[in-house]
Symmetry: C2
Subunit: 336 residues, 2 copies
DNA sequence: GCGCACTACTAATCCGGTTTAGCGACGCCA
DNA sequence: TGGCGTCGCTAAACCGGATTAGTAGTGCGC
């Protein structure tokens, strides 16, 4: 049934050496003296037999499993966050690692169970990912194990973390409007609760960039980050007689609702109103006109986190990954 | 640094028994006679010490790692397919398993490398997932290992497989229109290449359901499954003077393009044109009016695949998972 | 009072690697 | 020619469990 595995013993026998010697060769240790000739025989035997070392056996002895645990709250729930896993995975594979995934669904008990399960399997370290950039309370179970935070930060200890550079992203979004000539009538659409770091930092970046140019937000349209909510909020805003010249939406879904509300009252994008947004989801390129949006570099975030973990950093500053602006058709010069 | 693990030896010592006895108790084997009293002592000692067996060590001996390998082509790329991983994960965790993920990106070499890497880690079986329902050519490396196909089928061997019931879904979509009173002017939007099983089966289901009701498709609007393409195709269709009464879109993205095209010429949904679709992505509920769509049960698919794999089935029929219809506001009675 | 079955354990081995300790052979030097 | 260091390699122990093959102790029948 299951194909029998070739063991180090088989390789050693074929090469006419001891298991020990074969081990030294296959594990590539330099500090033990093996003649080039013997090494060559071992390598050949291994190749001919299709030898692959059992990482279970190796890990038992070395306490290294070449495996990384990825714990997330709800990563897979968010449509595009799969890229976060992809980035981690691709990077891990390139370093001969594999990734064990676990989703805690925000449940602390489940999270601890997952961490234990992973430790039972000897993972070499953890990536602790949050969907929405926020402050994380790390489980005690992780204490003493290598951890890199992904898309979240922790104040208690100087744990290495990788997060998108939301501040710069906010500044960039504002910059797009400024560059198009906008100075007033710019509104921020979307609520900015304090615990959502992304919102707060984007907002700060926007304000700073605007004031640096001698401008400022004309106001804020408060709404949840969903199409229905922003649609209703913007409809009400317009119904009150307000006529914005540009909207900065805190994500693409919010922007979608804005598109719908503006269409209802016949305000053209970008002629009457310019729109910039954050996320750069697929939606952004499906809208008409296509939406200018600042991307969350999910793949890159995952990549960086794995790199950081594998680098052996156990403590360090927060790595901020740039968020690229994708300029499309939703921004134009302000109406004369 | 890393907390020292409690071993079976520690537990045995504390309980005053041999490692063997402790092993019998912790691994729950009934066939060996252990007094209730001794068992109790071992259990207590294990609890007090926080003992957790090393699955590396156990796996080395038993050849069972309690770990499943999930190989996919591009699962994480598709926004909502993360649910597929989630469903597998949640189900696996409930059975004390963890999932090792790997994405082949369609690259056969990479796929083999991933499979090898997983085997090196002693995975007990594989879930081989495809993003789009299709026929899969299984790597030779998998031969002899438990495999369940997810969202794909294989003709060569009778490998267990889990797929969405696309035929029934097609019939259901047509049924929604029939139920609303539609009999003619119904068009299918989206190309149906032969190798895309989902498309072919949906199409057959639609045709069968229509003809069962004495109706039939008025025609087909050929287009790639993307908003821009369907937008252009439907615009051209309408420009040619055609006036459909209902559109069956092969996915939500296609439907999105239809919405845009219909809006351009002032045809209201659902008053002038009814629309049903497949996928039930978030987009469906964001559109105005909300889109009636047949859902792909990603989570359930993942769940079933893991269940099937853990059930020990090495061969079996294709499991077809129902695709639930989510009725919303995009379907109405045909215009008088 | 002996053989036998049964209970309740345990010593020893195994899984497949890594790692430590050490062993012959050889060359060099005094 | 004996001591010593180095080279090239291996025996044995180890990692932490599971499993096989017993082994004491007890009760029972005859």
């Amino acid at each position: 049934m299951t194909p029998a595995r070739v063991t180090l013993q088989d390789v050693a026998a074929r090469a006419g050496v001891s298991r020990t010697t074969a081990s030294f060769v296959t594990s590539g240790r330099q500090d033990m003296r093996i003649s080039a000739e013997a090494a060559e025989r071992v390598i050949r035997a291994a190749r001919e037999l299709g030898y692959r070392p059992s990482l279970l056996a190796r890990g038992l002895r070395t306490n290294l499993s070449q495996t990384i645990g990825l714990i997330s709250d709800v990563v897979a729930t968010e449509p595009y966050a799969g890229d976060l896993i992809r980035g981690s995975m691709a990077t891990a594979v390139r370093a001969e690692r594999l990734i064990l995934v676990g989703e805690s669904e925000g449940d602390h008990k489940l999270e601890e169970q997952l961490i234990h399960s992973m430790l039972d399997r000897g993972v070499d370290g953890f990536i602790y990912a949050a969907m929405h950039t926020r402050e994380a309370r790390l489980s005690q179970v992780l204490r003493g194990h290598p951890v890199v935070l992904l898309n979240c930060v922790s104040k208690v200890r100087g744990i290495p973390a990788v997060v998108p550079d939301e501040y710069a992203a906010g500044a960039a979004a504002a910059g797009v409007l400024l560059h198009a000539g906008h100075r007033d009538g710019i509104y921020l659409v979307g609520e900015t609760p304090a615990h959502v770091i992304a919102a707060a930092e984007r907002s700060t970046g926007i304000n700073d960039a605007l004031s640096m140019a001698g401008a400022q937000l004309a106001g804020r349209i408060d709404t949840l980050w969903w199409p229905h909510d922003s649609y209703a909020a913007v409809r009400a805003f317009l119904a009150a007689g307000q006529r914005p010249k540009a909207l900065i939406c805190l994500n693409d879904r919010v922007a979608f609702g804005c598109y719908q509300a503006l269409a209802d009252v016949g305000l053209a994008i970008p002629d009457a109103v310019s729109i910039v947004s954050f996320d750069d989801s697929d939606l952004a390129s499906w809208l008409r006109p296509q939406l200018t949006s600042v991307a969350i570099p999910h793949f890159e975030l995952g990549r960086r986190a794995v790199d950081l973990l594998l680098s052996g950093a156990r403590t360090g500053p927060v790595v901020r990954v740039p968020m690229p602006v994708h300029e499309r058709g939703s921004v134009g010069p302000p109406q004369a």
